[in-house]
Structures are given as C-alpha cells and as structure tokens.
C-alpha cells in the first residue's frame, strides 16, 4: 500500500510538471497573440494604445465582455492617473489571465437566436426596424447612434424594412468564423 501510494505521489508530480510545462507554452503563445493584436493598434510603436481601442483589441482576441465588464477591465489596466493611453506592460498580464481563465466567452448561436425570439413573442420570424431600434437603443447597454446605423445597414432587409433574424444570424456567424 505504502509503496503504491508513494509511486502514485511521484507519478502525480510528473504529471503536474508536464502540465506546468504545457501551460508555460500556452502562456507564451498567448503572450505573442496578445502582443500581435496590441501592436496593430499601437500607431506610434511605443507600446501604448489609445484607451478607446482597448475594447476592440480585447474582443478581437475572441472575448465578449459586456460594456460594464469592459469598463472594469479598463480600470484594471489604466494608470493611477489615467492618461488616455494604456501601456502594454499593464495590459499583458491582465489579458493573459482573461484568456487562461477563459472569461467572457462568446455568445453561442442558439442563445443569440433565443434572445431574438424573446423580443419577437408573436413568433413572426422578424423584428421591424423600429422595434430593433427601440430595443437596441433603449434597453440593456444601449447602442450609440453609430453602432445602431452600422447594425441596421447589414441587418435590415430594405424591402420589408425588417430584420429576419434567423437569416441574419446565419450570415453573421459564417462571416465571423
């Protein structure tokens, strides 16, 4: 019994060590990925980005924080005295944690579909332009006018002036993958 236990303990440590090494490699790859995304927005090549681009960077890495969650993240990476710029040195560790913990997972397709269906209780299969505008600009974390216009340009079928959400989702999901 004792021998087997000690063997198990040694074996367990080896497995843990291998796991740690694997994690190091994963972390290294995450670091590079984050650096790549950051650099594309770092116009002056001085390891800072405008704070207004942080949301885009985080989302381009596959995460989907809400506006509120984004706000908290920004607070974590900002300077003591906010300068309007975020430094890479502060951003990297925070973002690595987010990726490792798989936080802010994206919305699955069927959840998105159900959300549209909630807003369309009579199950017509579509929302009118006015209804979409009302929900998106008055509820939840409201869209800005620019966001609303952007969404409408792709979503609204000009003939019926409505969004057929099933088709819309199908189209967007393909494009996003």
């Amino acid at each position: 019994m004792r021998v087997r236990c000690s063997l198990l303990r040694v074996w367990g440590q080896v497995v843990v060590l291998e796991g740690l090494l694997e994690e190091e490699i994963i972390v290294a790859e995450y670091h590079k990925k984050i650096k790549d995304a950051f650099e594309v927005f770092d116009h002056e090549a001085n390891n800072t980005v405008d704070v207004r681009e942080i949301g885009t960077i985080i989302r381009s890495l596959g995460c989907c924080p809400s506006e509120g969650e984004l706000h908290d993240l920004i607070a974590e990476v900002e300077e003591e005295e906010p300068t309007g710029y975020i430094r890479f040195e502060k951003f990297l560790p925070v973002m690595t944690e987010v990726l490792l913990e798989r936080r802010y997972r994206p919305i699955p397709e069927d959840t998105l579909l159900r959300a549209f269906e909630v807003l369309d209780p009579s199950k017509r299969g579509f929302l009118t332009k006015e209804e979409l505008i009302k929900y998106m600009t008055e509820e939840g974390e409201p869209f800005s006018q620019e966001e609303m216009e952007e969404m409408l340009s792709a979503a609204i079928d000009p003939e019926s002036n409505s969004i057929h959400y099933k088709d819309y989702i199908a189209m967007m999901v393909v494009d996003d993958s």
Binding site: A28, E29, K32, K33, D36, A37, E39, V40, F41, H43, E44, A45, N46, N47, T48, G55, T56, I57, I58, R59, S60, C63, C64, S66, E67, P106, I107, T111, L112, R114, A115, F116, E117, V118, L119, P121, Y135, M136, E139, G140, E141, P142, F143, E147, E150, M151, S153, A154, M172, D175, D176
Partner: protein, 661 residues
C-alpha cells in the same frame, strides 16, 4: 416562451409579470448587444490587420526602390562600358537640362489644337474661369490637350523659379488656410475637398503638401488643376514637393505610364518638362513663423537655414545621389541610409555632373521628404522605406525649439482616420487620399488653420455608390485584397520560405508549430505582421493546432511563360520585376517598349552581379531568345513582364498582376 407568459398576455398584467417580461427583454437586448459589439470589434480588427499588410508591403517596396539608387551608383562603376554602348544613358540619368530652355516657343507653338477637339480650352494669361473650366471638364472625364498641358507646365516652371525654398504665409482672423495631404492621383478626393471647402481663391488659401501623383488614375488632372490654380493665385495656392514628385518614382508607381497612355504623341515631352518642374517645387511652407509644413519629416540634423539657401532645383531624384567629381576626397564615401557604401571611381564628366548638390545638402532634402515620426526617442534610419529616418518626440522638440516653431504638419503616411496627432500635439499627419489602398480602407482629411486658434480637422470618404455597402462587405473586400497581395509576396519568396520551414521541421512531417511558422515568415519576408492572427488565411492547420506549411503554395502558382525555364529563375524575375521595369524603361529611352537583345543581356548581367543573384547567364540568354518570338532581335518588354503574373487557382476573377504600374 413558457405558457405562463402566454396566459398573462392580453389580461391586465400584474406588475411583477410586467417586471419579469421587461427583465427578459432587457436580458435579450443585452445578449444581442454583447454579441454585436464583439462581432463589430472583430470586423474592425480585421480591417486594421488588412491595412497593416498593405502598409508594410508598401514600405518594403519603397525600400526596394531606394536600393535602386545603389544600383545606379554601381552602374557608374561600369560607366565606361555603358558609355560606349549608350552615351545617352548617362546623360539621361544625370540629365542635363540645357535643351529645353529654348524649346518652349518652338515646340509648343508647333502643336495645333484642332477644331474637332472637344476638351477644355485654356486662355493665357489664366484666370479663375480656367479653373472652373478644368474642374467641370475633368468631371466629364475629358482629357486636356497636350498643348495646354505643356503650356501650363512651362508657365508653372517659370513662376516657381522665382519662389524661395520655403514659402512664408500669414493667416488672419478673416483668412484661414487649408492644408491638404497626399492625393496620389485620386481626383474624386480633390473634388470632394473643393466641394466641402470651396475652390482656391484670394480669400480661400490652400497648401498642398506633396505627393499629388502616382498610384491613382488621374494624376495629370490633379496636377493641372493645382498648377492652373497656382498660376491664377500664386500667393494663395502653395505647393510643397513630396517624395513622389520625382521622375524616377513616377516610373515605378504609375504616373509615367498614365502620361504615356493619355498622351501618345507628346507624352515624352511632357515627362521631360515635368522632371524639371518637380525640381522647382518649394521644399516647404512656414505659417505665421510658427508652423512648419513639409511632406515627410525631420531628422536630428535638420538645418532649416541651410535648406533655405540650397539650390533646390539640383535635387533631381532620390535615386540619383550626388557622386564625387574628379579630385574630390573619396574618404567621404556616400553612405546611404540603407547602409551600403558606394565608392564611385573617378568619373570623367562633361560638366553637367557639377549641377548637383553636396552630399550633405542632398541628405537634408531626403530627410524632409522621406522621414516618419515614431514614439521612440532619438533618430534612426528609416528601415521600412530605406531613406530618411524615424524621428522621436525629443527630436521634434529639439528642432522646433531651435527655430522657434510650435508645430510640424506633414503627410507621407496613410492614416485610417485621414489624420493623426502625435509627439504631444507637436506633429500632425494629414493624408487626403481616402480609400488609398482599397475601397473602405481609410478616410481622407484636411486641416483648417487660423492664427492662434486650434487647428480644425475635416474628414471625408469617397464612395462610388450613394448607398454604401455594409461594413462587413467592405472589410471582406479589403481583407481579401490584402491577403492576395501577401500571398503573392509569399510566392515570390517560395524557395527561401520552404527552405526555412524545412530547417525547422526535423522530423520532415510537413508540419510546424505556430511559433515556428510565424518566426520563419517574419524572418524571410521581412514584414512585421500579426502572423498568428493572419495564419488562418494563409495556411491550413491540423486538429492539434500545427501548421501544414506547404498548404500556402497550393492554390497559387506563377504562370510560366516558357515551359523549360527553371522555377528559381522565374521566382527571381518575379521578385525583381518592378526594379527590372524601371531600369528597362530608363534604357528604352524612346519609350518604344522595345529593347534590343544585347541591351537586355547586358542589363540583366549587370543587375545579376549587383544583386548577387545566382542565375546562369546561359539561362537568361535562353529566356531572352525565347521571348523574341518574331526573331527580329528585339523584345517587347511589356509583354515579357506581363508574362510573369501570378495565377490564383481558386480565384475566378484572376487578373494580371495589379502591382504592375
């Protein structure tokens, strides 16, 4: 939806049900908004990645361009051989301008404008009506007759000659000034600016900060409008020279081709005069003794006093650095910023070569036309472009303080929003060619300035249709265009890439990790891009996340013109095709598109030895022979070049290489 909710509908609902319903709606809205913001952000990131690709390739090309200057200097070492064969070549390269002085009356007056000509007619001396006439005519896609083009060019040169190197301008509360950046032949952008901001006039001053030509399809039209406006309002329309106001750049980037195409009879003459007009363009403008407006940037050694006094018209081209004359000290070898040292031997001149700037003066001008600001402190050679430097915020402060200036306004770099402010507000970039790389790639902008007021920025974007496409379609278009260009780049370095991959692939499995693949790509292609994010467009990965590195080369191949020619030869020719085109265009002095077999062989051998390309002379000869299809001893070089286009197997809209100017 639960039946519970259905039951509640229609009846007088209790407040708790109402709350529950609106809570559901709230949650649903949150889900949709969250999803949409994620999707929209990823779209914008993709757009930004595509722009990065375009930009890094553009700058890598410019670097290649500047390396040509080494080549021309190298040609001088073999000068005697070339001189024997083609004495005109050297004269061409280091052009004497003796001929055209007397030409004007004789040449222009010989050109008749027929009655059948339906295009715009100008009347000298020019007035504001002529500006209107031109704008309206160009909107109708008309072409200005060569006679008027030449007359405008001659007049412009005559007036420019009297202008100082830097134009000094004053604003007043009632008189703002508008500053526009690169236009690059995009006539629609100029029209849009005039539409929003008014035509130039005594009360509406403009500064155009260089790069009026190349790339876009209407460079000559832009030039004509700007020059005519300048002739009508010489004190209110200010032109600064850009790095593309250079006849050698035009050879590569499209303007030369545009002229020869639109003006088949008089194109050569137009090009000849243009070379000269460029050299007389002022180097910069200074507003209210406070704001310096120049095309590129500065370096730590920028000496404005010197620049005020040099003979600017001796700056012919960035590709023609000054060479030491007989008896000059050869210790001061010309070291280009790219790092290569050129040691020209003693060169016999006929006097025309003394018409050049000193090395120091020449470098000062290059810095002004080619430099870029960066966040890093200090001053470094501009390795992307191969000329000028990168200058940091400390350099900006130092130089601005030295001359008691407050701000530097420059252009030269495409910015997504059309403008960008950096170095603590001291440096502003303004770029006026919207959709520069592709439809939807970027906005254009202009600046309005007045006295002590803060500058105002105006943005715009030209669209072909009144109803713009949704963002995702525009991003898809830019992205596929950028990826296509990147793939062509990869194909041109295929052999080197595969070698690098195989070196890392010990087990010869055909697979590499993401890190290994990205490393080789960056190393061989010399492009600083987010390879991990781009990998999905360029290679296939297996289920373990490993890269199948050969998969990039499977859906593109270079169409071979001659079956027997070897792969590396084709690849090499493809990679250097732009350089080859320029050199051959220079040799083809009558722009006939034909060069003799001997010229082809000689040029290729010279090129060969300079760029250390290991291609057998024999192979090139074979190729040359095969190219001469009608066996008349000359090669139609344009056909030869066109033969090397990259075919995308999967691309139904395959067209010939868009990179050929």
């Amino acid at each position: 939806m639960s039946t519970h909710d259905l039951e509640d509908m229609g009846c007088g609902t209790s407040s708790s049900t109402k709350d529950r319903k609106s809570e559901k709606a709230l949650k649903a809205a949150l889900v949709i908004q969250n999803w949409y913001r994620g999707y929209s952000a990823r779209l914008k990131a993709r757009q930004r990645y595509a722009l990065t690709i375009f930009q890094s390739i553009e700058y890598a090309d410019e670097q290649g361009q500047l390396q040509l200057s080494n080549f021309f200097s190298f040609m001088l070492e073999n000068y005697t051989h070339i001189h024997e064969k083609d004495p005109e070549l050297v004269a061409r390269l280091f052009g004497s301008t003796l001929q055209d002085c007397k030409d004007r009356q004789e040449y222009v007056s010989c050109i008749d404008v027929p009655d059948s000509y339906n295009g715009p007619r100008l009347q000298f001396p020019l007035t504001f009506t002529d500006i209107d006439i031109l704008v309206e005519a160009f909107k109708q896609q008309q072409i200005l007759h060569a006679r008027y083009v030449l007359e405008v060019l001659f007049e412009t040169k005559k007036v420019l000659k009297h202008m100082p190197n830097f134009t000094h301008v004053k604003t007043s509360p009632s008189k703002e000034i508008t500053i526009c950046g690169d236009l690059h032949g995009k006539l629609d952008d100029l029209f849009l600016i005039f539409y929003k901001n008014g035509l130039p006039s005594g009360g509406n001053s403009y500064i155009f900060n260089g790069d009026f030509v190349d790339r876009g399809k209407h460079s000559i039209e832009i030039l004509m409008i700007l020059f005519v406006s300048f002739l009508v309002y010489p004190n209110d329309l200010h032109l600064n020279r850009g790095n593309h106001e250079d006849f050698m750049m035009n050879l590569r980037y499209g303007f030369t081709k545009e002229i020869l195409h639109k003006y088949k009879m008089h194109g050569k003459k137009i090009l000849q005069i243009l070379e000269d007009v460029y050299t007389w363009l002022p180097i910069g403008t200074i507003i209210d003794n406070e704001i310096l407006v120049i095309h590129g940037g500065i370096s730590e050694s920028t000496d404005l006093n010197l620049l005020h006094h040099i003979e600017r018209n001796k700056m012919k081209s960035v590709l023609m650095p000054p060479i030491p004359l007989d008896g000059e000290d050869h210790d001061t070898d010309l070291k280009t910023k790219v790092g290569a040292t050129i040691i020209p031997r003693e060169v016999k001149t006929n006097g025309s070569l003394s018409e050049q700037l000193t090395k120091h003066e020449w470098e000062q001008v290059i810095d002004i036309l080619w430099s870029d600001p960066r966040g890093k402190r200090g001053c470094y050679p501009n390795t992307s472009r191969g000329g000028g430097c990168y200058f940091g915020p400390d350099i900006t402060s130092k130089v601005l303080n030295k001359y008691q200036l407050k701000m530097l306004i420059r252009s030269h770099e495409c910015k997504p929003e059309g403008y960008e402010i950096c170095h603590d507000g001291k440096v502003v970039t303004v770029f006026s060619a919207s959709n520069y790389y592709e439809e939807g790639s970027n906005r254009g902008a202009y600046i309005k300035l007045c006295c002590d007021m803060t500058p105002r920025f105006f943005q715009y974007q030209v669209t072909r249709t009144t109803c713009s496409r949704p963002l995702y379609q525009r991003v898809n278009a830019i992205e596929s265009s950028a990826i296509r260009i990147l793939k062509e780049r990869m194909i041109s370095r295929k052999t080197d890439l595969i070698r690098a991959f195989q070196l890392q692939d010990r087990s010869k499995s055909g697979k590499l990790s993401m890190g290994q693949w990205a490393f080789s790509m960056e190393n061989i292609l010399g492009l600083n891009l987010p390879w991990r994010s781009l990998s999905s467009h360029l290679v296939t990965t297996d289920k373990n996340g490993n890269i199948n590195y050969m998969s990039s080369f499977q859906d593109i191949h270079i169409q071979k013109p001659v079956k027997e020619a070897q792969s590396t030869l084709i690849e090499t020719l493809y990679r250097y095709r732009s350089d080859l085109q320029i050199i051959f265009n220079v040799i083809d002095s009558d722009h006939s598109g034909l060069i003799s077999m001997e010229e082809f062989r000689a040029m290729w051998k010279l090129f060969n030895s300079h760029y250390s390309i290991h291609i057998d002379d024999f192979q090139v000869d074979e190729l040359a022979e095969r190219m001469d299809l009608n066996k008349d001893g000359s090669i139609d070089f344009n056909e030869f070049l066109k033969a090397f286009y990259v075919v995308h197997k999967l691309d139904k809209l395959s067209k010939s290489d868009g990179n050929l100017p």
